[in-house]
Every structure is written in structure tokens, then in C-alpha cells.
Assembly symmetry: C2
Homo-oligomer: 473 residues x 2
């Protein structure tokens, strides 16, 4: 393997991300080495990593994990009773009563599967969820990759395709590259708050069928980076589309606890599916993904997620269970806490509820505040988010800047983000990472951060933007 | 994807493990439901999962992880000073000072990469290790899978092959299946304590070249499941072989801290490589794997490992860094503790040293005791282990049992293990999982367990074995 030519060609073609992160790391290092800049540190809001920017974790989660790591602490009185009880319950779920043992199977610890299934059943008003359909892995990106790997036909025949929205999550294109599956984009309608356009979906599928074998459709609800929340009618139409075209529905519902748009609520695809009657609920293949990285927990560093398999062939499921890996324990325990938090009457209930509430309010107020400021900028327009953690404003850049970018062989959104990073120490995401590779420029901004941090970012962004538009001094 | 036929053919062919584990789970469930058996619980020593059988974790490791999860505890005086200092140092290595943030890159946190490189430099008597060559992932199985994935040519041309010992670790065949790479077995010499036979290596490679494209050779040192520890001469020959045949050396050194055979010591492949002179040290492509799951730490549930890349093309390395995933934080912190444990003078030094010592003695005494007992059984012969955590005795079964197994369409080692599980509640590993699929029957037994547990297992194994050999009553 003395050269790249000898590397697995599938891996070789994983697209190189724009990688502002490595520039950000470089700048941070320069600052650490004493170099003078107009700012004292880099703030990265290009992805959702709330603890990194200083949002505190949920105390109950960390208390329980701490005790699980070192159960000797159960003997001390410094922890609330329900923290200790939860710890004991979780340790009982582990093999040998220890977080240090493998989970016996690929998919996770059976008692945690049961907890998740019970949560889903409650969430969907009694629609049954089967513990054996719950599969854990190190993050929702990983579970999604497992499913897509399963769907891909690596047999040298027609390439497998997956329909995905445009804009899509910035992590999706690389994920599909890695598995060698073709991303078939269906354009969302920006003017309608990034709603799905059913006619576009049909059109895109027809065209795609001439080039690949589209086997699944990916949906995010709430949307990333759009912040769009789908209503029942849209979800029904999507399910109907998937059913009639025999596509597997891959539904990312990682922001299910983060809907804040007025009169908006989260409706799970599964609930809608089951309310459409047995001709759907017993046939449509669907997988729903959730994660502890997202809004409420924000535990990105633990790497934990699960998926629920709906209507998958038992023989197909069996194959998933055969994957030679063993799920990590602590993230599973964190998932159990997420789906089974303190209840009224528990010692930690009030504190927990308070922390969750603060977080929800922070998110919603941040999203509103940022959207207002962005829309007040010349050459910038931003759809308000109804959920999720991102804003995705449209950039209307002056022709000189687009020209300049062309000369530098850069996309203008990348040039914009790079300058913003170099001049203000703010790292945002260029829309080309979300699939907008035409001249339809956007930037991506995570608004789940401490309000003071967001305010700082917005101030610096505004000043940069004005400077850029007013042209060279 | 309404049937298995529509699943990725690569995944479809992952071999089904013998799966005594699911039988073990079933039996455990029957016991839980009150069914009467000759035993009160199932003990599984088919793989190495020491905390599961009751070996305690290393206190310092768990204390630090506990504080990292809930840094509020830093304010209390219940922890030794060095535990708090280590926690602070580790949290500083995390983005935003929290275990809840993503590590910025695929490969891990730079300060932890530096700690590992410093450890490797010390371990190998000053031979330089570069922090940028250290890559973290969720366990050594995962890092190994990453490398093998990189080596495989998924372009429909010649299949990639990897040479691997027979017997090999029971986890290896599935791992290669998953990536679609052919396992090319080279037979170890049982009578010589499972030493490598260089002539066999050459022979096997020649034959393999007619069927596939062998691009790497896998070695485990100490060996799994053989317990063999290679001497300098063997390692030199292996390196010479890999160099002259242009094979990448994949060296699993996860039991480097578990060598107990008299006059035996662990020598890293890297150290030997560098002592062979620049014509080797600057050319031979080598990757070494380590893990926190193994002997000293035994933290299997955390899922953490790292690999060191030696002489890999920078462009190839760059591809590895592009893998779209983010390494989990806590296992990286545990790795830092493994490579940088308490030092003389630190408050926890004595306790830590004592715990490590007890563990090492348990392992070595268990291995000796078990080997003696097994060799005393009729129809069983066992090479003594010099390191690692397994024994791998040869089973000389009576013709009736082999016949019976044939009628049941089972391998006789599987029949043996299944009966042992059903009759005594003891789960050991059949040698066919380690690649012995001819009539050369073996069983695999992990000896890293509390001595009383091992004693119980051996007693029940002996009584079962005698009963089996004395024929039906
Ligand atoms: C679309 C999307 N979903 C979910 C996540 C969270 O991923 P994970 O659960 O793997 O941490 C991310 C993180 O970047 C994302 O981009
Ligand atoms: C050969 C081998 N190496 C290492 C390990 C430890 O693997 P990991 O580091 O992925 O937990 C195992 C576990 O079964 C193994 O079989």
C-alpha cells in the first residue's frame, strides 16, 4: 500500500470536506502560541456540539454516569436517592453488573432495549414498539451508516441510490460516499420554509431510476439544517410515496424533543404510519434514528444512538444482529436516562425539569434572535426555524465576491466562511457541504449555544458581513 | 428490501457464528424463570470479558472516569489528589473542557495522541513515536477493521487476501467477512507451543497468490488463543518475510502487558523493526493495535483502542483521517490512564500497583493451574501459555462422539461445547471458531477470571469430560 492508488477505491473517493475545521484548529494553535489576532479564540458553530461552547450538561445524566463508573460512591450520601436508584437499575442491566463488560450482542443490552421500546410506545400513544427492533450503536450517524451499508449492492451491478433532501445534513454526503451509495437530491422549497415538494420527489425519482437503483428515501424531521417541522399531511404523503415506490424510509428524528415553532409539534413517522391503517402499517419498511448528541442531552462525546426497525424482514434483521461489533455501554445507559428521566416525586425531578426547560428556552430564543438579526442584514435572508438546532440563511453575494471566489477556485460560500474564520474567529458551515453546490449560496449556523456566545458570534458575523459588502477599504 | 436477497451481498455472507452465546442466554433465561438445572448460573469463558465474571476494575481508572463524568465532585475531598489532578488534565484535553463534546477529528484528541506516543517512545527505549500516527477507535477490532477495509479492493477485480495464523482469534474470520477480504491461514506448530513455521508461511503465500491478492499479514503477539509469545528471532523473520513479500504487517499487541511465561518478555514489533536498521525501519509498512479491553484494564464495555501507523504513505494516512466518524471521548481518556498510570510518589501509586500486581498474579497462576488440570484429563492436551489470556487445549475425542456429531451435522468441538453448556452451564469456545475446521478439535478457554470462578469452571469441565468419555450410562 505504498501509494493512494493501492487503497480501497471506495474509500479513496470519500469526498474531502471543505475542512474549515482544520483551518480553525490551525488558528487556535497560532493564538495559543501568542500570535496576535482580532479575537482571542475561535468559536465553531458549524455543527451542533453544545457542551463545547459551554452549555452545561444535564446534572442527573452526569451524576448517574459518574456513579456507574465508580459504584463505590453509592455508599456516600452526596447523591440524591433517585440518582442512586437509577444507577443500581442500570448496573443490573449490565453483564456482571459492571460497565466494564461487553454487551453480549451487537445490538445492546436487552433491558435498555425494553426501556426504549416502552418510551416509544408511550410517545406514540400506545402504538406498540418491540424491544427486539431497537438497535444501539455509537451515534445516529453510525446506525444510519449500518442501514445504508445493508441497502447497498456491492456486487458491481447497478449502483444503489438514496433520495435525500437538498439541503441535506452536512454529514450525509460523506456517509453515503463511504458506503458507495449515490445521493439523489430532492430539492426542498426555501420560500415555503423548506417544505417538501411532492412533485419534485416524483420527478427526481423518475430521472434517478435511469442511472441507479434508488432503494431508500432519507428524511429528517425536524430538518437539518433547515429547521423545518413536517405536518401530518406531509408525513402521510411521504409515507404514501415511499409505499407506492417501494422505498425504505430512513427517518432521522434526532431533534424530536426540539420543536419550538408556534403551533408546531413533533409527530413521529411511525405514529402517522400506524394511523394510516394496516395496509401501510404492516408493509412500509421504515427505520427511525435517534441520538443522545442532539438538543436536550447534547452528549456528543459519548457517541450513542439507537434505531427502531419497522416492518423489516426478520431475516434482514438477523443479518444486522450478526454485525461483528459490540455496542459500548455508557452511551446505552445515557440513552436509558434520556428515555426514562426523573418522574414527578423523584428527588431530582425539579432540578431536571428546570434544566431541560432552560435549555429549551435558550434554543427557541436563540433561534428567534439570530433569525431576526440575519434577516436585517443586507444580502441575507433566513427562513425561521420551527425546530432543530440550525439556521440556514441564504447569501445574496455581490458579483465581485463571486468572481473573486471563482478566481480562487473556491465556492463563494466557502470563501465567505473562510474569511469570517480568518477575520473574526467564527467558524460557520458553507452550504456546499449541505449539497448546495450551485450558485445558490447559504451558510449553516448552529444556534444551540449559551446566549452570550451566540450574541458574540452574531455581532462579529454582522460586522464582518457589513465590511465584506462595503467592499475593499 | 423485502427479503434477504435484497441485502448487500457482502453483508449477507458474514458467517454465522456458532452462537453458543444465544444458547447461553436462553439457558440463563430459563433459570431466571425458575427452571431447575444442575447449576445456578451460566459462566461464559469463551471470550475475554473479565469484569463480567467478577474481576474488579482498577480503582484509579474508574475514579478518574467518574470525576470526568461529573466534575462537580472535584470540589469534594473524597478523592485522592492525583485522581483530581488527572481528571483536570484529561478534561483540559477535551473540547470545551467536557466529555460531552465531539473530538474534533476522526482520530481523537491531540493531547491523548501525544500521551500515547510518549508511552510508546518510552516502551521501546527511545524509538520515536509520532502523535499524528496514533488513531483511536472504539476497540482494537474496529481499528483493525478500518485498516483491512482500506486494504481491500472493492473494485470487482482480484479479491484481497490477508494472511492470518491458524488458529486465529475467534473474532477475525467475521471481521474479514464483513470487509469482503479472504483469510489465508498459515498453520502454527502446536507441538512447539504454537510457534510460527516460516516455511509454511512461504508455502501458503505462494498458493494464495494463485487465488487472491495477499496484501497483508496479521500477527498476534502474545497470540490469541495460543498464548504463544514470539522471541526476537521470530519477529525478525516475520518482518523480513513481510518486507521481501511487500506485505503490510498488522500486529495485534493487545496483550503486551500480559506475558508471564518463564524467561519470556514482550518485545514490540516496532522495536525489533527499528533495531533491524534503516533498510527495514524506513520501509516496512506496519500497524500495531492495542486496546483497553485486554488484560490489565479489562474495560471491554468502554470500547476503546488505538493503532500506531508505521511507514504508511502520508496520502494513505490522510484518507484514514477522512473517515466520517468521531472517536468517543471516555475510552480515549481511559487509554490515557493506561499509558500514564500513577507514578511513584502519587497518592494512588501504591494501591494502583497493588491492584495491577494482583491481576498479573491471578492471570499467571490461573493459566498454570488450568493447564495442569487439562493436561491431566484423558484425551486432552494443552500447550502452556506464556502470555495472553487464553488456553487452547487439543481434544482427542472418541470415534463415537465424532460419529454422533456427524449425524447431528455438527463439528465435534461444537457438540462438546454445547453439551458442556447444557449439562454444566459452562460456555467455552469451539476451535472451529478459531479456524480449525478440520478434525483437529480444540476448545478455547479464557483464564482471566476470579480464581474461584475458574476453579468452579474447571471442576465442572473435568466432571463433564470424564462423563462424556465414559460413554452413555
Ligand atoms: C444529521 C445529523 N444527525 C445527527 C447528528 C448527531 O450524530 P451522532 O448521533 O452520530 O452524534 C448529526 C451530527 O452531526 C447530524 O449531522
Ligand atoms: C483478537 C482480539 N483482540 C482484541 C480483542 C479486544 O477487542 P476490542 O479492543 O475491540 O474490545 C478481542 C476481543 O474479543 C480479540 O478477540
Amino acid at each position: 500500500m505504498s501509494s493512494v492508488q493501492e487503497v480501497n477505491p471506495r474509500v479513496r473517493v470519500i469526498r474531502d470536506p471543505v475542512n474549515l475545521q482544520s483551518l480553525a484548529a490551525q488558528i487556535s494553535q497560532q493564538i495559543a502560541q501568542g500570535e496576535q489576532k482580532a479575537f482571542t479564540k475561535v468559536i465553531d458553530l458549524s455543527s451542533c456540539d453544545p457542551h463545547r461552547t459551554g452549555l452545561p450538561p444535564i446534572s442527573f445524566v452526569r451524576q448517574v454516569l459518574s456513579l456507574c463508573c465508580y459504584p463505590e460512591l453509592l455508599k456516600e450520601d452526596s447523591f440524591p436517592l433517585d440518582v442512586k436508584q437509577k444507577t443500581q437499575k442500570l448496573l443490573e442491566a449490565c453483564n456482571g453488573g459492571s460497565i466494564g463488560s461487553y454487551s453480549s450482542s451487537t445490538v445492546g443490552l436487552p433491558p435498555i432495549q425494553r426501556s426504549v421500546a416502552e418510551f416509544l410506545t408511550r410517545r406514540d400513544g400506545g402504538i406498540n414498539s418491540n424491544p427486539e427492533d431497537i438497535i444501539f450503536s455509537s451515534g445516529s450517524q453510525k446506525t444510519l451508516a449500518m442501514m445504508i451499508h445493508l441497502l447497498s449492492r456491492e456486487d458491481g451491478q447497478t449502483e444503489t441510490g438514496v433520495l435525500a433532501p437538498l439541503p441535506c445534513p452536512h454529514t450525509l454526503p460523506m456517509l453515503l460516499d463511504e458506503v458507495g451509495v449515490k445521493l439523489v437530491p430532492y430539492r426542498l422549497t426555501e420560500e415555503r420554509g423548506w417544505a417538501v415538494d411532492l412533485e419534485e420527489l416524483h420527478r427526481v425519482l423518475m430521472t434517478a431510476r435511469r442511472q441507479c437503483d434508488p432503494r431508500a428515501i432519507y428524511v429528517g424531521n425536524p430538518g437539518n439544517p433547515t429547521g423545518h417541522v413536517q405536518d401530518r399531511e406531509t408525513i402521510e404523503k411521504m409515507i404514501h410515496f415511499a409505499a407506492s415506490e417501494r422505498l425504505v424510509l430512513l427517518v432521522e428524528e434526532v431533534y424530536q424533543d426540539s420543536v419550538f415553532g408556534q403551533d408546531k409539534e413533533f409527530l413521529s413517522y411511525k405514529k402517522v404510519l400506524f394511523e394510516m391503517g394496516v395496509s401501510y402499517s404492516e408493509t412500509v419498511e421504515m427505520v427511525s434514528f435517534h441520538s443522545i448528541s442532539t438538543a436536550t442531552m447534547g452528549e456528543c462525546g459519548l457517541r450513542g444512538g439507537y434505531m427502531e426497525l419497522i416492518n423489516l424482514d426478520p431475516a434482514v434483521k438477523k443479518i444486522l444482529f450478526q454485525y461483528p461489533s459490540s455496542a459500548s455501554i455508557l452511551p446505552q445507559l445515557a440513552i436509558e436516562i434520556m428515555v426514562n428521566p426523573p418522574a414527578p416525586g423523584d428527588a431530582s425531578y425539579e432540578k431536571y425539569t428546570q434544566e431541560i426547560l432552560v435549555r429549551a428556552e435558550t434554543l427557541s430564543q436563540n433561534a428567534g434572535r439570530a433569525c431576526k438579526l440575519l434577516n436585517a442584514l443586507p444580502g441575507m435572508s433566513c427562513q425561521p426555524a420551527m425546530g432543530g438546532v440550525f439556521l440556514y440563511p441564504h447569501l445574496h453575494l455581490p458579483a465581485e465576491i463571486i468572481e473573486e471566489a471563482k478566481m480562487l477556485r473556491l465556492s463563494a460560500d466557502v470563501l465567505y466562511c473562510r474569511r469570517l474564520l480568518e477575520e473574526e474567529g467564527i467558524c460557520l458551515g458553507p452550504g456546499c457541504e449541505n449539497g448546495h453546490i450551485d450558485e445558490n449560496f447559504h451558510i449553516r449556523l448552529c444556534v444551540l449555544a449559551p446566549p452570550a456566545v451566540l450574541e458574540d458570534v452574531l455581532t462579529r458575523l454582522c460586522s464582518f458581513h457589513h465590511r465584506l459588502l462595503s467592499g475593499p477599504d
